[in-house]
């Protein structure tokens, strides 16, 4: 204590603040909730997860064989998933909101950048360790059950997980802070950060999908030597050694040598490499802290974007709809397509909507005889029904609808302002959705050498699916506006409800009416009509209804 001022450890204060922010929802019950969850996590890890996996193995014995024969590769696949979760999730989460303003306050209070990073890292530990505590047992329990791993073996496995999680969390904290600092706090930087956050989320999804669908092939791939350069491999190999050395099924030393021959490194080398990675990332982060994190007005912050002449499409819309509606459609399109995160969403949407022709092509290649056009169309339509609505709903629903409550008030101040605004948005989204329908329809038509008229029908079918799901997404957001904050609970609730309604409005009528479909279909056109009636039309009706209720909600004065 100097001159009445108590000396505090800055990183501790920052860690506490970060933890309090992350656990705001629990308020004064934080301690009880975290202790309770930790106890539940331990019970889950050592009792529930093994019992559950045992039950699954009894139902699906072939899965047990998969883990038995391909364990080193499977372990690497599991830990790749965990590694990506701990690495990418914090980066994606942190980049959704640039918090350089907080850094400025801290740095102006003579807090070192090293203290900030350590504080942010320590503040995240309880949250992410809990996540790992619930995730890791689900990934490790299959090995524990298949090889009846002893307590010591399990301890080694969980130590590997702990080492890899902590070191990766540190690395991701340093990385996300560095990206934040480089992007700085400017509208453009914030937008770029959101775009990166969105792309990293997709990077996270891809191996997950691959893991679900191509586990066998991926495990083969993951046993390749090139993966020895990745930290998750060292953690996976350390855990694999724990499985084999402490197995309870009586594997002979020859069998163990044979099984682990693929690993190249022994348990000591894997463990040392993992510890070295942890230490190195701590040293690199701490040493580079002052170099990486310098607040400055970079050249990017000085860029002012000026709008130019409107393009041909926008001018066409104005000519076609010369009144207020035309203006509102044009402004909605400009606002949507000028945001990098929306461009990223549309690009991702286009990639996913291009999947049906590729999947159909792949499936048909496995058919020995040439498939008739009706089968090609049916397969394409069914895959479109599965893919298009989700893409439409998630691309055009969600964030960016209203930027703030004040923004809503400006709209509400105009007579029937909310109605005009939502109508303009829906029409703008429908026009953008047309793009998503045309590209895959053209691809299917060209790849399968179909009649151009069928191609046109595909476009129309895809358009109904995308615009119907956009109606659902818009209706939900109008009912529960997110005001642009990706992290808000409204955003997650909206995404969940949008997905549930889209799936429900397609699957329920489809399943209810599918049995009557064959009797109604006597050709390609009735197939289009029948499926449209069972999927696109119900979704359009439900979406329109939601938009109507949403408009009512936006129009009414606050209480």
């Amino acid at each position: 204590m100097i001159g009445g001022i108590v000396l505090v450890r800055h990183w501790e204060v920052i860690a506490k603040a970060d933890f309090l922010v992350a656990s705001t929802r629990f308020r004064s019950n934080r301690k009880r909730v975290f202790v309770g969850l930790s106890i539940l996590g331990v019970i889950w890890a050592f009792v529930i997860a093994p019992l559950l996996i045992d039950l699954i193995f009894q139902l699906l014995p072939e899965m047990m064989m998969l883990f038995r024969t391909g364990s080193p590769g499977m372990m690497r696949a599991m830990l790749l998933f965990l590694w990506l979760t701990v690495m990418i999730y914090p980066i994606s989460y942190a980049l959704q909101e640039i918090t350089i303003g907080q850094w400025e306050i801290m740095l102006s209070s003579s807090v070192t950048t090293r203290n900030i990073i350590v504080g942010k890292f320590v503040g995240k530990i309880p949250y992410y360790l809990l996540m790992v505590l619930f995730l890791a047992p689900a990934l490790l329990a299959p090995f524990i059950v298949v090889f009846s791993v002893s307590f010591v073996g399990q301890l080694i496995m969980y130590s590997a997980i702990l080492l890899i999680s902590i070191s990766t969390l540190w690395a991701s904290t340093v990385l996300s802070s560095a990206i934040q600092m480089r992007l700085s706090q400017s509208p453009r930087g914030e937008e770029l950060a959101k775009m990166i956050a969105m792309v990293t989320s997709f990077i996270f999804i891809i191996p997950m999908v691959a893991l679900m669908n191509f586990a066998g092939g991926m495990s083969e791939l993951l046993t390749m030597d090139v993966f020895l350069f990745f930290p998750f491999t060292w953690g996976a190999d350390m855990a694999t050694w724990g499985v084999f050395l402490f197995n309870g099924i009586g594997l002979s030393s020859e069998e163990i040598v044979l099984s682990v021959s693929i690993l190249r490194l022994d348990i000591l080398a894997s463990t040392l490499l993992l510890i070295a990675f942890g230490l190195l990332s701590v040293i690199v982060g701490a040493v580079s802290a002052d170099r990486l994190f310098v607040l400055e007005a970079g050249p990017r912050t000085e860029i002012v974007r000026t709008v130019g002449r409107e393009n041909l499409i926008l001018r066409g819309i104005r000519r076609f709809a010369p009144g207020a509606l035309g203006v509102l459609i044009v402004m909605s399109l400009k606002d949507f397509f000028r945001k990098s995160e929306n461009i990223a969403k549309v690009m991702m949407g286009l990639i996913f909507t291009a999947l049906p022709p590729i999947i159909v092509g792949y499936l048909l290649a496995t058919v020995p005889v040439e498939a008739p056009p009706l089968i090609v169309v049916l397969m394409s339509l069914l895959i479109m029904i599965m893919v298009f609505p989700m893409i439409g709903g998630l691309t055009f629903g969600g964030v960016g609808f209203l930027e703030s409550k004040n923004h809503l008030w400006i709209i509400q101040c105009a007579p029937k302002g909310a109605t005009k605004f939502v109508k303009g948005r829906i029409l703008a989204f429908s026009l953008a959705g047309l793009l998503m329908a045309i590209i895959p329809a053209t691809m299917i038509t060209l790849l399968q050498r179909l009649d151009p008229l069928i191609g046109l029908a595909f476009t129309g079918f895809g358009f109904v699916l995308v615009s119907g799901s956009a109606l659902v997404g818009t209706g939900i957001v109008a009912l529960n506006p997110t005001y642009e904050t990706v992290k808000s609970s409204s955003f997650y609730v909206n995404t969940f409800i949008t997905t549930a309604i889209i799936l429900g409005s397609i699957l329920i009528p489809l399943l209810a009416g599918f049995r009557y479909l064959p009797s109604l279909i006597d050709g390609i056109w009735s197939l289009f009509g029948g499926l449209l009636l069972l999927t696109g039309i119900p979704m359009m009706v439900i979406g329109s209804l939601l938009c109507y209720i949403g408009i009512m909600n936006l129009s009414k004065p606050d209480n």
Binding site: R188, R305, G323, K334, W409, K420
Partner: protein, 258 residues
Amino acid sequence: MNKMAVETDGLSKAFGTIQAVVDLNLSVSRGSRFGFLGPNGAGKTTTARILSGLLKATSGHAKVCGLDIRTQRDRIKAITGFLPETPGMYSKLSATEFLEFVGALNNVVGEVLLKRVDQLLDILGLSGRQDDLLESYSSGMKQKVLVASTILHEPELVFLDEPTSRLDPAASVLVKEIILALAREKDTTFFICTHMTDFAEGVCDVVGILNEGQLVALGPPQSIIEDSGSNTLEEAYLKVIGGEIDRTKLLDWRDSSG
């Protein structure tokens, strides 16, 4: 035509247990410049939002330009303008595009609108930046664009919530002159929520002081000054609100460590 722009009768608004506005009885005549003074949280913004149809009153009645705020909201919106305290605008639109958007919401489009936009931006000193995205604007520049959006459709009554809080002195004078010119030439009524007493004194012909949701003073600025035995409106305001400062205690916090 109704001679009153605003008439309230026992207007009250509660948010849970908090009484934001209590039994407000107020009349503002057409063509006047009414200044609604009061400290932060006094209920000024809440009143303006109720009158412009954005918020429901808990009890009481009010009419805006002779129209009932409960049943004729859309008609009220067509003849009023509202400037919110915080700018709420599309960051990815330029000033011209944003004003075109607001114009379209108020059914003003085409050449008439574009001409008004150009002239307003010119008057507000933004003509060189009209095509830059709003994300690059300073808060003062955004406030100027919002002022333009509020008067774009030539409303009969304009609600301004802290219109000059983000503006530099030159821009404040400009806004003040625009208000005076519109009131003089177009007989536009202004309902200005502010806690800037010097601005209210210079612009408003009638002032109401609100404290904890209750109207505690009403009249021309000069009469409020005289009634409270003060020299300026700021002094009168502090006397009415009870916000006088005890200068002897200003640095007491430094000795609190004991």
